[in-house]
């Protein structure tokens, strides 16, 4: 039986309670996340920051259902995802989360349009509707007319724009970005961040970044600092 989310505000898109994640590296047990309680509200533009090994990516994996916690509970969009089966989690991620990874995360044998429409295809959206939505989102990310190009034929910045389009085309409740600017030059990074900030503003979609890029931190409205798997600071900016 799934736990009801009685303790949270209806505006919370992400809620974690006592989340811990241990894993074994060789014969040593690593405590990657050591009991994080956190609530992220709808529409936030949040950066989870911290040094390498602080548990940022692990925490992001936990709140997106890519990994399961050793202990504690995770609610996403009101659903207790810690207890979902593999297929339920796949479907939940498909319908509720958009993912942006580091650069070069597109499927190389699919062209721009096919990459962007992939999640909609999983959702069973009709071909015509998919094409309409892809054209609109590509226009929003400044890639109008790039539909037939393959990833290797466009720049790293343009690939990341395609990844953003893929993440946002289904209008998910939450967009998770793991080091989205890691392999990009500063100008491209700035441009992408401005674009995501604008989309966050225009659509009200929630963005959560894992990063140690100062440019991302500067743009964030809320900054959560993790150190050794613990939430050591939570700063909301006006």
């Amino acid at each position: 039986m799934r736990k009801e989310n009685n303790m949270s505000d209806q505006n919370d898109i992400v809620l974690t309670k006592g989340v811990k994640k241990d894993y074994r590296r060789d014969s040593v047990v690593v405590h990657a996340v050591q009991g994080v309680d956190l609530a992220i509200k709808k529409g936030e533009f949040t950066a989870i920051v911290g040094p390498s090994g602080s548990g940022k990516t692990t925490f992001l994996n936990l709140i997106s259902g890519l990994d399961s916690p050793t202990e504690g509970d995770v609610w996403l969009n009101g659903e207790h995802i810690s207890e979902m089966s593999g297929n339920e989690l796949s479907d939940f991620r498909r319908d509720n989360i958009g993912f942006i990874f580091q650069a070069y995360n597109l499927i190389p044998v699919l062209n721009v349009e096919e990459n962007v429409e992939y999640v909609m295809m999983l959702q069973g959206v009709s071909g015509g509707e998919r094409h309409r939505r892809v054209s609109r989102i590509l226009s929003e990310v400044g890639l109008e007319g790039f539909n037939d190009r393959f990833p290797k034929a466009i720049s790293g910045g343009q690939q990341q724009r395609v990844a953003i389009a893929r993440a946002m085309v289904t209008r998910p409740a939450l967009v998770l970005a793991d080091e989205p600017t890691a392999n990009l030059d500063s100008k491209t990074s700035e441009s992408l961040l401005d674009m995501m900030r604008g989309l966050n503003w225009d659509t009200g979609m929630t963005f959560v970044f894992s990063t140690h890029d100062q440019r991302v931190i500067d743009k964030a409205r809320r900054v959560i600092v993790l150190e050794d798997g613990l939430n050591v600071r939570d700063e909301v900016r006006e």
């Binding site: 593999g86 796949s90 991620r93 990874f101 499927i107 044998v109 999983l122 959702q123 793991d178």
Partner: protein
């Protein structure tokens, strides 16, 4: 489904060199299966042909008990009725009446035990290859003379035109009967037993020596098709086993050939297993290499909502695409190699195998199964084998897969 097929097809050509090499390995395996099968079919046909067309025939009729006792008294009953029936049988292309007895042959240099066949020269010509096997002298034309095997001729130091004496025991009285013949021809049929211990004399002369009147011991039959003996052998046996006679096809007369043919099926099965083992390792190796290269990509696909089963299907589709490519390559390669080798064939003339001596070259024979069943088996087996790497990929941790590339 269509999308995943498209994706799979594109994926296998991401690393063209690897796909080509893997396809080539599988293709060579399939080509080897086609080639070996074509030669085995050819060899089977050759063995049957060597065994039946030289002298045996596709079937024979004897008096019941004659095959065991070889008693000269046991002549075929109601020969006239059987001959009439054989003449009107649309599946009988030729037949020849024979007598068969044991005796001795004496020449100035030596004496030997032999099997003496009394044959009707013209009828025998239409059925067996005795006439084509003459290496010295000529075939029996009139009811005179004798033909002896080359090995026997050497032993007796007999040559064409020499006189020989054949001695047999008469059927009714058991009295010895001797007749002088001139060697009309020396034959070499590449069948050891016949070349070293058989003598052919005119049917009437044999009947007279044996004292059996117009009696015969054997009717050898050739059908219009070799396969008729296998397909309708039982029917033939039933139709002609009358009046106390027994009709048998070559499978019953020389069962060892049938066993050998059955054994060739086992050798085909072994070839298939070896080839499939090769394919299995090729596929698993390629799929796992691709899998490790694309771990992050699979992680992304899973992260954005692809169910494990769909990822597994994608990998199976990739294997299926590879199988289609490899099967096409294998069929072209197999057909080409088999076709090229069919110009020369394999010269096994005179080679004795399981009691049968090949009397002509072996040529590969194309069969429908080589281009339908075998490619389908390769396709099905490839898909089956791919379930292992596909299952592995579908079970991998998404977070772990995404971490792999970082």
């Amino acid at each position: 489904m269509r999308f995943y097929l498209k994706l799979a097809w594109r994926n296998i050509f991401r690393n063209r060199r690897r796909t080509f090499l893997t396809g080539l390995i599988i293709g060579i395996g399939l080509a080897a299966m086609i080639f070996v099968d074509a030669y085995i079919v050819g060899m089977k046909d050759g063995m049957i042909s060597s065994a039946t067309s030289s002298f045996l025939g596709h079937a024979q009729i004897h008096r019941e008990g004659f095959q065991d006792s070889q008693d000269a008294d046991l002549t075929i009953a109601r020969t006239d009725k059987l001959v009439e029936q054989l003449r009107s049988d649309p599946h009988v292309e030729a037949f020849s009446e024979r007598t068969l007895s044991f005796g001795t042959i004496s020449a100035p240099a030596d004496i030997a035990s032999v099997v003496i066949y009394g044959i009707e020269p013209q009828r025998e010509k239409a059925l067996s290859k005795v006439d084509e096997s003459i290496v010295e002298g000529s075939y029996l034309e009139q009811n005179e003379g004798a033909l002896i095997g080359q090995d026997l001729a050497r032993r007796l130091e007999a040559q064409v035109g020499d006189r020989i004496v054949i001695t047999v025991s008469q059927a009714a009285s058991g009295e010895l009967s001797q007749t002088l013949f001139r060697v009309h021809g020396i034959f070499r049929m590449h069948i050891k037993e016949i070349d070293s211990a058989a003598v052919f004399i005119p049917l009437s002369a044999a009947q007279s020596m044996l004292g059996i009147g117009r009696g015969i011991h054997e009717i050898a039959v050739r059908f219009d098709r070799t396969q008729y003996a296998s397909e309708q052998g039982q029917r033939f046996s039933a139709d002609y086993s009358r009046f106390g006679n027994v009709a048998e096809t070559w499978q019953q007369l020389v069962p060892q050939i049938k066993y050998i043919l059955d054994m060739t099926n086992i050798s085909i099965a072994i070839t298939v297993i070896l080839v499939f083992a090769m394919i299995m390792f090729g596929i698993i190796n390629t799929m796992f290499m691709a899998l490790y290269e694309r771990t992050f990509e699979f992680g992304v696909l899973r992260a954005v909502g692809t169910r494990p089963a769909r990822l597994r299907n994608l990998i199976v589709f990739e294997a299926a695409s590879l199988a289609v490519y490899a099967a096409a390559l294998g069929m072209i390669l197999g057909a080409a190699v088999t076709l090229i080798s069919s110009f020369t064939g394999l010269d096994l003339t005179g080679v004795e195998f399981a009691g049968t001596t090949f009397t002509s070259r072996i040529f590969p024979v194309f069969a429908l199964r080589q281009f339908t069943l075998y490619p389908l088996l390769v396709f099905g087996f490839t898909c089956l084998v791919s379930l292992y790497p596909a299952g592995h990929a579908s079970r991998m941790s998404v977070a772990g897969a995404l971490q792999r590339a970082l």
